[in-house]
Amino acid sequence: MGLGNKITDYLDARLGVRDILEQNLTRYLLPRNINAWYTLGAVLLTLFAVQFATGILLLVYYHPITDEAFQSVQRIMNDVPFGWLIRTVHAVGANVIVMALLLHMLSVLFMGSYKSPRELTWLAGFLLLLLSLGMCLTGYLLPWSQLSFWATTVATSSSRELPLIGDFVVRFLRGGAMVGQPTLGRFFALHVMGFPLLLGLLVLFHLFCVRRVGISRPPFGPDWRPMEPLAAFRHEEHPGGIPFFPHYVTKDAAIIAFFLALELWVVFFAPGLFFPPAAFEPADPFVTPAGIKPEWYFLWAYQTLKIFPSEFLGLAVQGTAVTLLLLLPFLDRSPERRPARRPLFVTAYILGIALFVAISVWGHFS
């Protein structure tokens, strides 16, 4: 008997782990027509784990003090063994995560998986997207480069357009009149503790919802029918489905490997892809660099603010769009999930993606 079996026997006798494993792995059945889009959750879990691990390693050498932050990042990149790898994986990973989050959201929207009884799963997922973007923004300031300083200065300034509370919000975000040590301190605290804690809790809640309600069946195939409205809680079973382990796990593993390959390809072969030149100059409050643009995933918001005659109007439009998406399951209550039978939604979906891409491209070249 191998050591592994001995340990499992020991744990099984005390905690009944074999039953737990069977229930959640081999006897956990998924719909037979489940597709690759469903692997994005596992991909994101892996990517978040990589961010967590590299983040902890960066914390060992990073100094969250304005006089030392830039130098400490330079030291990580040049002196610390494999520091360049850890930092680049962390920075590139943030972009890959946003990419995977957007794909995950788009696939859920297309297949209508956000609909009843999965409203809470969607809500948690969408909040995870917002928190991740918040993590990206707070992380952006930490290297204390020209890019960090000026992007944060302008990003926080736009909150001034909020009626009545604008000035208060700017001071609250910055911890003072200007971006400085108090800003770095609070962004650092949020980035390494506040947001990850919430993110962890939300991930757990999201996974709990997924497991408790059951995986949604892809709305494709001739025998798919909309679900009747639920009078009471019911776990969606998939009798005759495929086991999660080892069947679907192999697909998860494959897509995870492809995402990691993409991330590492950028890290090794195009490390400057997400770093404009201002990212390598120390912050200088007296020199405003020309043409700083936000990261690709914020370009839509940046350009929206420029399109409207006032920044407040731009912020209001952005806020409305985000709120509509957040509350979508409570607004779109029809049980129909088949894309072919939701022409209005699919049209809005395609136009929405096209608008996002077009405004982002416009923002990039504007």
Binding site: L130, M135, C136, L137, V154, L264, F268, E295, A301
Partner: protein, 276 residues
């Protein structure tokens, strides 16, 4: 205590998510507007014709690219519209022809010295060329050997001697330009190149200073020394390049392994499907 935590947790969650939302929305404005422009640029930039032209020319210049603004040369107060051109605030205005080398030489000290000692400098005020003759004024570009050309030099004398100087500096200057490009590329990957940047910057300045004395023999004699210094920098770059190549090699191996692993997992998945 437990009740307190349970009560405050949702509030904390709400505030933090709100903060994230606020940050996310605010992040959209992550671009820099031209705020912080000096009053010189605000006023002259809005004018047309002779008074506005210098701003447009300056914007494309090497000075603008390096953050050297109007007041750095012309003096004055760039923060006060009313007092901007007041001599009491150090405003110098535009220099007369004879004082141009002194005007530019406040920053380009070495070049000024060599220029003044040269045949060009000795002819200053008597039709001899000065800084602006070759480099222009507001649209000043990065100095390059192309500034020595038949069209410009023959405005005053034969091209022969100038051509000799140009051919003597061309190789070294090309080397300096290549190294500058390599260092910039390295800097863009997060590698600290400051020591080499500073060394190359000083070397470039010394070298450019050298040919302002328009002495062909001196340029030829000293070029070997400059080439030797450039070789030393190139050697240090080669070490970094080798390390980067090693990283790419290992990176390629890891990426390939991940791709192979992914394909194997997919094949395994297909085999399970067939079994069913």
């Amino acid at each position: 205590m437990k009740t307190y935590c349970l009560r405050t947790a949702p509030r904390f969650l709400f505030i933090s998510v709100l903060l994230a939302l606020l940050l996310v929305l605010a992040a959209g404005a992550g671009a820099v507007s031209p705020e912080g422009e000096t009053v010189c640029i605000q006023c002259h930039g809005a004018q047309t014709g002779r008074l506005g032209a210098p701003v447009a020319a300056w914007r494309k210049s090497i000075h603008a690219a390096n953050g050297i603004s109007c007041h750095d040369c012309h003096g004055g107060d760039p923060t006060d519209m009313a007092m901007a051109m007041n001599p009491a605030r150090g405003f110098l205005g535009a220099p007369k022809e004879g004082s141009i080398p002194g005007f530019c030489g406040r920053c380009h000290v070495g070049v000024k010295e060599d220029y003044l000692a040269s045949a060009h400098g000795r002819a200053l005020g008597r039709g001899g060329p000065h800084c602006v003759t070759c480099h222009g004024n507001h649209a000043v570009q990065k100095a390059a050997p192309d500034l020595i050309n038949r069209k410009d030099c023959t405005r005053c004398h034969d091209y022969g001697r100038a051509e000799e100087i140009k051919s003597a500096v061309l190789d070294t200057d090309r080397n300096i330009a290549e190294l500058t490009q390599s260092l910039t590329a390295l800097h863009r990957t997060g590698i600290v190149t400051k020591d080499m940047d500073d060394e190359l910057f000083a070397l470039r300045n010394r070298f450019h200073r050298l040919f302002h004395n328009v002495d062909v023999e001196r340029v030829r004699n000293q070029t070997a020394g400059f080439q030797g210094d450039l070789l030393k920098i190139r050697g240090r770059l080669a070490v970094i390049d080798a390390e980067l190549k090693r990283r790419k090699l290992w990176g390629g191996v890891v990426v390939a392994l991940l791709l192979i692993g992914g394909v194997v997992a997919l094949l395994l998945h297909k085999s399970y499907k067939k079994e069913k």
